[in-house]
C-alpha cells in the first residue's frame, strides 16, 4: 500500500513539474479503453444473467427432485394405505368366520387365549401374501388379547419382516419372523429373527392406543377413513425403525379387536426416496410430521447420500427462514436448506385429517449456498485477471509503440536527427527531414549575413578614417573657445537630448533618428533647437563638425 502511495505521489510530483509524459498518457488511454470494454462486457453478461451463479439451475433441479419425490411418496403411501385397508377387511372377514366357527364374539376373544394361535394361523396367508407382493419392511397383526395372563401390556400377534424391502415374489422374498407363535413360523417355513419374541409388548407404544381409541370413538366411520400413519417408531425388540400404517380390525358387530398394518422401514424409505442428486452428493429426502415451528424429524425418515441416518436423527428441525425459493432449517447444531412440500396422507373425513406431513429435499446449508453461488468466484477472478492482463498489455504495447517516437525526440534533442533513418512512422521521418532542411537553410543564411557584416565593417572603417582626416583638416578653422564651450556644455543636455546628440555623433540622419528615438519631426526640431542653444552652435553642420572634432580628440587621447 505504501508502495502504491509512493508511486502515486511521485507521479503527481512529476506531472505537476513537467506535465504528463506521452508514455503515461498513452498507457492511461489504453487502460481506460480496455477496462471500459471489459466492464461493458461484464455488465452485458450480468444483464443476460451470465454471472457464474447457478441459482436458477439449483432451483430448477430441486423443484424437479421435489416434484418427483412427492409424487412417488403420494403414490406409494396411497397404495400402501389401500393395501392395508384391504388386508384389514380380509382379516376382519376371516376373523368373523373364525368367531362364528368357535361360538364366540370378537369382544370375547381376550377370554380365549387358547384360540389365539389358531386365529393368527388363519391370517398367515393374508400376511404372507401382502408381504410378498408389496414394497414394505414388514406386515403385522396385533390383537387386543394375550396368552400371557400375567402381563397387562402383552398382546398376541404376528410381525413378518422382509430383509430386502424392495423384493417381491417375482424376485424371491425371504420372510423373517419377528413376533408371533413359533409354531406358526415353522409351519410356514419362516425363519425366526434373533430378536424374536412370542408376543408384542405395547407399553408406551402410542400408535396402539391412538388407533384403537379413535376407531372405538368413530364406530360409523369407514375403515378407509380410519387408517393412521405413525411417525418413525422402533417397535420394542425390532432392530429397524420405520413408519407404521395401522388399520383397525373391526368385526361385523362393530367391535374393534386389534389392528393390522404395513411397515415402511428405514431401508425401504431410503431405497425408494433417495434423490437422484445429480451434482449434489449430499442431498437427501426428509419426510416427517409437521411440528409447530418446523419439521418433526425426530419422527421422520430420511433418504439420501448424507452422513446422517434416520435412525440416529433424534432432533426436530425448525424453520429459520422461508421464501419462495428455498426453505432454511436448523436443528442438532446443523443448518439445512432446500425445498419442501406438504404431503396429504389422509382423505377428507378422516379423524387424522388435521395431521400434516411434509416432504423436503434438503442439503447442508453451506453446500446449497455454494451451489447457488456456482462458479461466480471463478467468474470474478477471470474478470480481474483479464483486467490485470489488459493493464500489463497496455503498458507493454504503449512502451513498444512509443519507443521510436521517444528515440526520434531524443535525436531532435541532440540535433542528430539527420542521422536517424530507421523510424517506422512517416510523419516523424517527414519532421526530421523538415528539421534537417531548415538547419541547412539557416546555415546558409548565417554565412551570407556574416559576409555582409564583414563588408559593412570594412566600409565603416573606411568612413571613420575619412572622418578623422576631415577632422584634422578642419581643426585649424575651428574657434577654440566655441569648441571649448561646446564640450563644456555637453553635460547640460537632458538624457533625451544627449541620446539624440549621440545618434548625431554616430552619423545617423534625421530620418533615422526619428525612427530610432521613436519621436516625430516636431519633437526632433524641439530637441535640436535646445541642443543648438545649449551647445552654442547655429547649425546642424556646425554641430556635426564639433562632434567629429570631439570624437577625433577622444580617439587621439586614447592613443
Amino acid at each position: 500500500m505504501n508502495m502504491l502511495k509512493q508511486a502515486i505521489s511521485l507521479w503527481q510530483k512529476e506531472r505537476d513539474k513537467k506535465g504528463t509524459t506521452l508514455h503515461r498518457r498513452l498507457i492511461l488511454f489504453f487502460v481506460m479503453v480496455t477496462v471500459t470494454l471489459i466492464l461493458v462486457f461484464t455488465l452485458l453478461l450480468a444483464f443476460f444473467g451470465i454471472t457464474g451463479k447457478d441459482e436458477k439451475a439449483v432451483n430448477s433441479h430441486l423443484n424437479t427432485e421435489l416434484a418427483i419425490i412427492t409424487d412417488k411418496i403420494a403414490d406409494e403411501f396411497g397404495r400402501i394405505s389401500l393395501g392395508g385397508i384391504a388386508m384389514a377387511e380380509e382379516i376382519a372377514k376371516q376373523s368373523d368366520a373364525f368367531f362364528i366357527e368357535h361360538g364366540i364374539t370378537a369382544a370375547e376373544l381376550s377370554a380365549h387365549p387358547d384360540l389365539l394361535e389358531s386365529l393368527l394361523g388363519e391370517h398367515m396367508q393374508v400376511l404372507i401374501s401382502t408381504v410378498n407382493n408389496r414394497y414394505c419392511g414388514g406386515v403385522f397383526i396385533l390383537l387386543d388379547a394375550t396368552v400371557n395372563s400375567d402381563s397387562e401390556t402383552a398382546k398376541s400377534g404376528v410381525f413378518l419382516k422382509k430383509t430386502q424391502p424392495t423384493y417381491t415374489s417375482t424376485t424371491g422374498v425371504d420372510i423373517h419372523y419377528l413376533r408371533g407363535p413359533a409354531q406358526l413360523a415353522r409351519d410356514n417355513g419362516i425363519i425366526l429373527l434373533g430378536q424374536w419374541k412370542m408376543e408384542f409388548d405395547i407399553e408406551g407404544q402410542e400408535f396402539w392406543t391412538k388407533v384403537m381409541d379413535t376407531a372405538r370413538q368413530n364406530p360409523e366411520t369407514a375403515l378407509s377413513r380410519l387408517y393412521y400413519w405413525s411417525g418413525r417408531i422402533t417397535l420394542k425388540g425390532n432392530s429397524e425403525s420405520g413408519f407404521l400404517l395401522c388399520v383397525p380390525l373391526r368385526s361385523e358387530d362393530g367391535t374393534v379387536f386389534g389392528i393390522c398394518g404395513i411397515e415402511v422401514s428405514d431401508r425401504l424409505f431410503k431405497s425408494l426416496y433417495t434423490p437422484e442428486g445429480g451434482s449434489f452428493e449430499n442431498i437427501f429426502t426428509v419426510m416427517a410430521p409437521v411440528c409447530e415451528d418446523g419439521f418433526c424429524t425426530s419422527k421422520g425418515l430420511i433418504a439420501g447420500n448424507y452422513y446422517l441416518t434416520g435412525k440416529h436423527w433424534d432432533y426436530d428441525l425448525s424453520v429459520t427462514d422461508s421464501h419462495e425459493d428455498f426453505v432454511h432449517l436448523s436443528g442438532g447444531g446443523e443448518n439445512y436448506s432446500g425445498k419442501s412440500d406438504s404431503i396429504r396422507l389422509y382423505p377428507g373425513g378422516s379423524p387424522y385429517e388435521g395431521e400434516s406431513w411434509v416432504a423436503a429435499i434438503l442439503m447442508p446449508q453451506d453446500i446449497l449456498h455454494n451451489a447457488v453461488k456456482g462458479n461466480s468466484a471463478y467468474f470474478m477472478v477471470t474478470v480481474v485477471v483479464l483486467l490485470l492482463v489488459s493493464i500489463g498489455a497496455s503498458v507493454f504495447i504503449s512502451k513498444r509503440y512509443l519507443r521510436p517516437v521517444n528515440d526520434a525526440l531524443a535525436s531532435i534533442h541532440s540535433r542528430a536527427y539527420d542521422e536517424k533513418k530507421d523510424v517506422p512512422y512517416s510523419e516523424i521521418n517527414d519532421l526530421l527531414e523538415f528539421l534537417a532542411a531548415n538547419d541547412r537553410a539557416h546555415s546558409e543564411e548565417v554565412a551570407r549575413l556574416d559576409k555582409e557584416n564583414r563588408e559593412v565593417r570594412s566600409k565603416f572603417d573606411m568612413a571613420q578614417t575619412h572622418i578623422t582626416h576631415l577632422a584634422e583638416e578642419k581643426l585649424p578653422e575651428v574657434d577654440s573657445d566655441s569648441f571649448e564651450m561646446f564640450t563644456q556644455c555637453l553635460r547640460t543636455l537632458t538624457p533625451k537630448e544627449r541620446s539624440i546628440f549621440d545618434l548625431y555623433m554616430e552619423g545617423k540622419s534625421a530620418k533615422e533618428i526619428l525612427v530610432l528615438a521613436d519621436i516625430n519631426q516636431n519633437t526632433l526640431k524641439f530637441h535640436n533647437k535646445n541642443i543648438y542653444s545649449k551647445l552654442g552652435v547655429t547649425s546642424r553642420k556646425q554641430l556635426l563638425e564639433y562632434a567629429a572634432l570631439m570624437k577625433y580628440h577622444r580617439t587621439e587621447g586614447e592613443k
Binding site: A154, T171, D174, P181, E281, N305, Y307, T309
Partner: protein, 451 residues
Amino acid sequence: MGSNQKEKITMKKLFCLILVLIITLGTFAGCSDSPLDPKEPVTLTMWHNYGGDMQATMDLLIDQFNSTVGKGKGIVINVTAISSSSELNKSLTMIVNDDPGAPEIPDIFTGYPKIGIQFQEKGLLANLDTYFTEKELDAYIDAFVEEGRIGDGGLYVFPIAKSTEVLYVNQTLFDKFAAETGASADKLSTFEGIAELSAMYYEWSGGKQFFGSDAWFNFAEVGMVQLGGSIFEGEALTLESDKFEHIFDTVYKPAVEGGIAVYDGYSSDLSKTGDLVCSTGSSAGILFYGDTITYADGTVENVEYSILPYPVFEGGTKTALQRGGGLMVAKSDEKKEYAAAEFIKWLTASEQNMKFVGETGYLPVTKKAFEKDMDSHLETLEDERIIKMLTSVLSMYDEYAFFSAPTYANLDANSSAFEEEFKKILNDDRAKYSNGETVSAEDALAQIRKK
C-alpha cells in the same frame, strides 16, 4: 538516485507484486494423493449379514464412520441390504449369474470366499492388494489374509471378523435331563456321545429333539478332517470313504428316530422354544440364542447356555472350522475402490474391530486385537454370553487345529447340494420311520453317495 529512477523501481515492484498475486491465485490447488474430495463425497452401497442383534453395532459403526472419517474424506456408506448370509448368498448368486431380476451389485458386500471366487473369476471384484501396503497387511493375522486370497492370488476377500463353530448347550434343560437320567456331560465332547444322548433324551422327554447342526456340510467336512480324511477330491466332493460312512451312521439313527433335529432354519430358533438342548453353530450366533425359552402358553423361562468346544469324532483330532467371510469390493473406478479400501481399513482397525467383536461374539482379525487387546477387552465386556463365548473360543485356539475349505468356483453349489440332499434323505426317512416303514442307513448312505 534521481526521482525518475525511484519511480521506475517503485512501478517495477508493484508490477512484480501483482504478478505474484496472479500466479498464487492461478496455481491454488490441492496436493493430496487421495482421489477423494470431501465436497463431493463418494457414496458406496453396502450389503452385510450382520442383522438381528448385531445390526445395532454395525449401524453404529457405520454411522460413526460416516460422521467422522467418512465426512472428512468424502465417503458415505449407504447400507442397502441387511440379510442372513444365506440370503445374501442367494442375491449375490443371482448377480454373478446375471439372472433376470438380479439386483445391481453393491459396492461393498460381505460374503465367503466360495462366493468371492465366482465374482473374481468374472472379473467383478477389486484386488485389495492395490490399496493396502505390505506393512498395513502385516497388521492382520496371516491365515485370515491368506484365506481371502483367491483365484489369481490377489486379495479379494478382506477379513473383517472371524468365527469358528462351537457347541451351544442349554445348560438348564441339560441339567434337568442329566439329573433324572444320569446323562454325563462328558459325552458332549464327541459326536458319538451326542448321538447317544440324543436317543436317551428323545426317550426321556417323550419325543423331543436333543441336538441339531446349523450346517450339516460343515459337520461332514470337519468330521472328515478330524478323522484324518477329506471330503474334497480336487474340485468335487467324495463321500465314498469309510470315514464318511462313520460320520453318516453316527447321526442317521437318532435323526430318523427323532433325537436329532434336521431343520431348515437355524438351531437357535428351536432353542428359543425349548425344542432343542444343544447344537453346533457359528460362535458368532451367540446373540441369536437369547437367554430365555418362550413356551406356547406365553410363559417365559430364564435359561443358561454353556459354550463348549466343537465336538470331535472318537479317535479324531481336535479340529474345528475357521468361519467368517470378509468384505468384498466390486470392481469400479479408482475413486470408489479407494474409498471402499479406506472404509475397510477403518472398520478393521483394532479399535473398531474390538468394538464389533465385543458386541457380536466374532473374533478380531488384527494381530494386535487378537494377541494383545483381547484379554484386557474381556474384562470390560458386560454381556455374559459374549464373555463366555470368547473365553471358550480362545481356549479352542490353544487346543484345536483350524480348517478352511479349499476355495473353488463350484464349492458353494457342492455344499448347498450336499446340505439339501442330506436333510432331505434324513427327513424322508424320518417320515417313513414315523409311518412305520422300514428304513436303513445303508440305503440312505447309498442314496446320498449317488446324488
